[in-house]
Symmetry: C2
Subunit: 247 residues, 2 copies
């Protein structure tokens, strides 16, 4: 299967003349997009690193691009150094689908009530055991079960034209956590569940209690924040014009 | 070759149980998008036309969608009844490409001067023989050469983040006219040509005088206006959120 990491590793291995493995800061399943992914890698190759962005973009296919690159301390890991991740989810909420957004937003034709969505989102803010909103349970490096407790510091819902823009920030996300949270609050938005049910789902801590998994096409890993304050955030183009200049 | 018209005719022929041909209001070459295309068709089939939009969207592939449909007078032609067409062209103007916009905007890494672009655009406003900006010359229904005179009533250039949004309105456009105009004014924006050269190109009326043809990926047929005031305009999603409700 073709993956972003695979395509990137192939280009980097060609540039550096040695096999390169990258470590990504956040997961992106099949069909999921990223405007703010961060990857780290180690190499002993000599290369004019100030030209790495240009050289990589020249080698990469059109559907995978580099915004910027820089040298870091030897111990740096894009994954383990990350303090917070921002995911954005786009819902097209109108009766008709949009051909141009078919791969970039989830089409929900039923009217969604933004205040019900917001009330549902509020229930999951803060530190919780998110086991109910987890695809495959996490394991540590020794293969033992790891914690499913995460702190969700933001779950904002904003209307932009016929698009709903959901922004979620947490210290980390479990497998499919964003898509399961979005699928569940959308049921509240459709008024099929009451906002208070969300707390009950959290408390039951069983996957069966949660709503459906929202499709990958609406999801964007939009930014990763590090201890030094660096944040890779970039708005997905479907939700607004891209940032002026990335240099 | 798979075309939007072909995909649409196949779905309509299935729905109506007879072969259907559609007439489109504006051209969209391969790779070109449309948010405001209008098509007309004739059928004697009995069908609950108020449900046509829903039925068509259920049958069409995800990358082709219908916004609305209505019954019209028997003589109506989406093409010949059109009074004005609006095309929008998106240019991503920053050093780095964007994976998410690779099929939806033309990536121009060299800095473009918006006021030079505007000065160039002004030169082509109004009624002109646009022969210099024409791919294949038009013919009438008898196969004889037709007029290459068109009236360009708008050529606006606006910056939205790192995107440039070019909007062109005319009574009609020649084959590749928008892409050749955009390719040529972009040379002025790069300060490779002076704005005044555009008038000279118009006057020479030779295709060789014009600049390169801008790629199809940045181009959108965004709206078609009719004598009764109806305008199908819709903003391309890459340039802003889609309109709230199309009913």
């Amino acid at each position: 299967m073709r993956t972003v990491a695979g395509v990137l590793e192939e280009a980097l291995s060609r540039l550096f003349g040695e096999p390169i493995k990258v470590t990504g800061a956040g997961r992106t399943d099949s069909g999921v997009h990223a405007t703010g992914q961060v990857v780290s890698l180690a190499t002993t190759a000599s290369f004019a690193f100030e030209r790495l962005t240009l050289a990589l973009n020249a080698l990469l296919p059109d559907d995978c691009s580099i915004r910027e690159s820089c040298a870091v301390d030897a111990g740096f890991s894009a994954r383990f150094g990350a303090r917070a991740r921002t995911y954005i989810y786009a819902i097209l909420n109108r009766p008709q689908p949009s051909a141009l957004l078919c791969r970039y937003a989830w089409h929900v034709p039923h009217p969604l009530n933004p205040s019900a969505l917001r009330a549902a989102a509020e229930q999951v803010l803060g530190e919780h055991d998110f086991r109910a909103f987890c695809g495959s349970l996490p394991v540590n490096s020794a293969g033992e079960p790891a914690s499913t407790v995460r702190t969700l510091s933001r779950f904002d819902i904003e209307q932009r034209g016929s698009l709903l823009r959901l922004e979620l920030v947490a210290d980390g996300f479990l497998h499919r956590m964003v898509r399961m949270l979005v699928g569940t609050v959308t049921e509240v938005g459709r008024e099929r569940r009451r906002p208070a049910e969300i707390s009950a789902i959290l408390a039951r801590a069983e996957r069966a209690a949660a709503g459906p998994v929202a499709p990958g096409a609406g999801l964007y890993l939009a930014g990763v924040r590090y201890a030094d304050g660096y944040d890779s955030f970039a708005e997905p183009p479907a939700l607004g014009p891209p940032t002026p200049n990335l240099d």
